[in-house]
Subunit: 197 residues, 2 copies
DNA sequence: TCAGTTTTTAACTGTCAAGTTAATTTTCGA
DNA sequence: TCGAAAATTAACTTGACAGTTAAAAACTGA
């Protein structure tokens, strides 16, 4: 990778970060390309040099986040031995990542409103892959009789729904840190599945 | 209430419904006043006769929904005797109402992005009142030793987060009905709190 | 029926932002 | 160092939409 290429990659990343931070705050339509640019002391013409249009910029930013999430969960599943530990750690990491990238995730809450066609397909596919991993952990636990019999889809959606909501209510000026919240949530949610109480 | 007044009220309601259905689908900024009007075979001038501006229309629609939610939970708390029954029924009704008014609720997910000033205050106040009711039920259960000791805020947010997510994944063409889903969710979520398993 | 009031409409204005472009400046490898 | 390629910019076009208005139509009560 040449110097030029690396510089371009860096610029793209900066632009994505700027976009995410402003869109996260004001919403996609309420955010202008000029704002995104001027936050980086650029003009919007420059932004259009790196990204074909506003939509593409949004898409790239979401894709990045979802790909990272997938990496995270794969990693956790590889590291841990016991099912219950796998699911617990997956949830902890999920909440922690959500909170460190909260603005980004706030944006992508409703993909079908933001994307269409090929882009929507790709985003939904990444999301599905992620759900799949959670489902597998639940099934594994049920089969190992560590967890109660359960409707996998519903429980998975409860877990994800509860966790994802954290970005709406977590406050940095509260007393609890991100890790603490993540662990508390994971423990509470595990109660839904755990056999021994 | 005169005939005229009732007619006006009816028109306002129709406009709100139209607005909710389109905004729910495409998002607030992506929805035009013309679309809202033409769905009712009106022109947007007419809409402006009933609502001062687009923002006011959005606000009224959200206020209506939240007020209705409050009525619902008050009702449930009055009807039931046992704490656990109160919380369970509150959750069932919550999910059911969410699903019958799903488009409306999808819109209001991020109030701070949609509203500001007095409007935001009012919306947040209604939401807070609702949370308060849930909190009280949790506390009541803990004090009666029906529920585990628990961090009330976190558990309440888990419950609400999980329930509210239902509008994102419930599908009318799945096999389960709204009531069934509502009851399943309530039962799963109660496990977080219940002492006896 | 008809006069006054309410409601609706079409046509208009002003603003704002997405995206384009051609000219200028910067960068970097030979 | 120099020239070609890459990157940046200011100025522009275009279209869309919120909100206005003045005139027309519909309604209503006497």
């Amino acid at each position: 990778m040449s110097l030029r290429e690396r510089k371009t990659a860096k610029k793209k990343k900066e632009i994505i970060q700027s976009a995410v931070s402003i869109i996260g705050e004001k919403g996609y339509h309420a955010t202008t390309m000029e704002e995104i640019a001027s936050k980086l002391l650029m003009t919007k013409g420059s932004v259009y040099y790196y990204f074909k249009d506003k939509q593409e910029l949004l898409f790239q930013s979401q894709k990045l986040l979802l790909e990272q999430s997938l990496e995270n969960i794969k990693e956790v599943i590889k590291e841990k031995e016991i099912v219950q530990e796998k699911l617990r750690e997956a949830m902890v990491v999920h909440v922690e990542f959500l909170l460190t990238e909260s603005t980004g995730f706030e944006i992508g809450a409703k993909p079908e409103q933001l994307f269409s066609g090929k882009q929507l397909e790709e985003i939904l596919s990444l999301r599905n892959q992620y759900s799949q991993y959670i489902d597998e952990l639940i099934i594994e636990g049920v089969e190992a009789q560590v967890f109660h019999e359960a409707d996998v889809k519903i429980v998975r959606n409860i877990l994800l729904g509860a966790m994802n909501s954290v970005i709406e209510w977590y406050s940095t000026d509260g007393q609890k840190g991100k890790q603490e919240i993540a662990e508390l949530m994971a423990d509470y949610l595990l109660r839904i599945l755990k056999r021994d109480c």
